[in-house]
Symmetry: C3
């Protein structure tokens, strides 16, 4: 594997899962792979889990790491071609990216959807420039439309916790005060479609995800019907895709609470975090023994390490 | 030792001092202890000495380190339970802490008094949540009411510089333009009470420290009387505890100057730094050969390394 | 070599170049030199290339690194002596510098010209205090009047790309929306004067550099004449030295474009980056095969590693 920006970059999903189980069992067994290798983690946006888990994963593999918070440590970067740069952006990605690539062996990059233009976001203008110009492997630490390290950790976590061959997995929209990108739900649906699970998506009307991510997955607009018999409830807010970037509802009837969880097959509760308590999920649910959000977050180190291991193995 | 949040966490103060002398002599002799161990340093507040000295101490011991500036790198964290999180804090400590704990072996945390509520500050709401929820050892890098790594370095420095068995050590309040927490003086008094020194505290009326830290130590309200015959002068500003968080005086008659130092037994001058020159202490005193503020600060690496060594030795 | 703040600190320029070629060929061959050594990189100003390349160079040599962004991670530092510190700067360089020095073996420091006073800037008040007070070797990561790691990389890059013994090297001023320091052009002229090249400087009237950097180098005010037959074009904006810190011209007739490059001996195009496209240089020139700005930036790792290697070899 060269780059990692979606599930489609994996040569083989089952092999990737096997690698994840291996590195979880023996995190320090592969340090020869990372010796004298350096990963630079570039953040256009804030990060807690991704920052720490990816850096930890790289260090587990014996790599050196450097972190760059673009807008704080450096300066704003221009991404449009052909402009006269007389404004507030002193450097172009066209220079910054290959320069950063020259100082490292792998780049991790986080660049959220900006909600200024659906086209720009869904063309993945920033991460694609990294892939094109950096000269080194690029790992998405959440791009405009996908968060594949999260989805990989989610899949791995379901594998760890499932008690039947083909569990029912429900992705449910939940309310939130602000407009959030579709990266996590897009990526979750795209990824979990590759697994042999029963996948159901539920959300209010107007929150349909982009068709290229949904494929043939049907929406169940009745949240309670969707929850019925579920083995895993994956909650997440996102802003509208069709009315791009808009918050159409903050309806707390969609909050995941104990009453709804009672409709499930004692489902495990999942969320990528950070989560707004008592908006997205009630205290009672997230604090219950069936909540596996911490284990899920801990597995971010595992998915990152599996990805980095696969990339390092192909570096010459 | 599991956690380090006050002098009371040490199994034995004299053994701890001995460990400090050992690691100062041979800082790189214990790298097997930290191999494949990671420390995360979390800052809710700015830091210079603590940031660098603690990170250096961990690296001396062979550990990997990661630094998280909560409000810059990540986002604001909610600390109250039961709230509907529809405001500007996107994540709760109840999730953030165990997640961070899952990526490391030791957490260092800095969370100052916020001066909004004496009760909240003196209950140590933040660091106590770290101890309760993180699942790993927690080291205070200055909490609301104590700064034990500083006090340990202070004690160690006095041991290095003392020329008699039982020196007279004076903690003196000094003026400052802003309201500062009581963590350093609280912690200093609490810690030095455990040593067999003659300890005197001097400050203007209204600046009495909390009784649980003072114990049976008496206040000498006349600063000059307090200085008489002193072997160590430890200067520090703090805001009022009784009129909580208020600046009752900026009286530069309390500034430590050459005239007052002349009353001492050629006392060494100490301060935890950062220090406001010509407010807290005159240029003449801090630039004199009897000023040991730099050596004291250098010993922050030593106290941090001794603490980390003791914790690593008990990690399985 | 003890400190590195200008070309004059090098014991021998040719030996330094030889060291640079060595470390480029074998970046990981000298890790015994950096074992248990720590470099602290201190930034008073933003940085991208310098931050990453210097950290990378130190890690190549087996060193540990710590990064301090003074104004974000810590707090503002007072640099004037004798003041009553009752304002917004809680710590003096007089304490901060030796304390930082006590936690490391080498300090890198970036402190730009502040454009408040030509005298203060040209006396290099900040970096000189680091040299004086830190107790450890100091490496300039761009000071008020010089950027020697950049100039070293520039010289090395010309050596790599030159096709004749004595190439014609042209430093040309170019327009920019904001006032930039003279550090890069000062340092470039001062350094390249030591090499056996034909050096020409061209800029509009009013942009004369300080005489101590120019020495006997003559200015060619006609940019096209200067470009004629050039082998290397080094573009850079700077604010006026005589009308200190002022932008006297934003005349895009000085922009380096294809038409002007056609006057040269198929010159290589250089710039220290970040560069404003279509202000300083046209897209056509910087995207042409003769643009070597990325290779030049990549060589920042090489010059930094050569400097650190020379310093480490003299550390006891």
């Amino acid at each position: 594997m060269r780059h990692f920006t979606s599930v489609y970059d994996l040569p083989d999903l089952n092999e990737a899962l096997k690698t994840a189980f291996e590195v979880k069992k023996n995190p320090f067994a592969y340090q020869h792979l990372g010796k004298n290798r350096t990963m630079i983690l570039i953040f256009f946006n804030s990060s807690l889990r991704t920052r720490l888990s990816t850096q930890k994963a790289a260090m587990n593999l014996g790599m050196n790491t450097m972190v760059l918070n673009v807008n704080q440590d450096g300066w704003q970067l221009e991404s449009e071609l052909g402009v006269v740069m007389d404004g507030d952006k002193p450097e172009h990605l066209r220079e910054a990216i290959p320069v950063i690539g020259s100082y490292c062996d792998i780049i991790g990059v986080r660049a959220f959807a900006q909600f200024k233009s659906k086209e720009d976001d869904y063309q993945e203008k920033i991460i694609n420039q990294f892939v094109e110009y950096s000269g080194v492997p690029v790992v998405s630490m959440e791009a405009a439309t996908r968060h594949p390290l999260q989805s990989f950790a989610d899949h791995f976590t379901i594998e760890e916790f499932k008690t039947k061959e083909k569990p029912k997995v429900v992705l449910t929209w939940a309310p939130h005060p602000k407009a959030l990108p579709q990266a996590v739900p897009n990526s979750f649906v795209e990824w979990i479609r590759q697994a042999d699970y029963e996948l159901v998506v539920t959300h209010p009307e107007g929150y349909e995800l982009a068709p290229e991510f949904m494929g043939d997955i049907k929406v169940e607009y009745d949240q309670k019907k969707a929850f019925s018999g579920a083995d895993f409830i994956y909650a997440k807010n996102w802003a509208s895709y069709s009315s791009y970037g808009q918050v159409l509802s903050r309806d707390r009837n969609w909050t995941v609470d104990e009453e709804k969880m009672a409709l499930t097959n004692q489902a495990k509760f999942m969320h990528c975090l950070p989560v707004r308590r008592n908006m997205v999920v009630s205290d009672g649910v997230i604090d219950s023994p069936d909540s596996i959000v911490i284990q899920e977050a801990a597995n971010r180190e595992v998915s990152a390490q599996a990805v980095l291991k696969m990339i390092l193995e192909e570096l010459k």
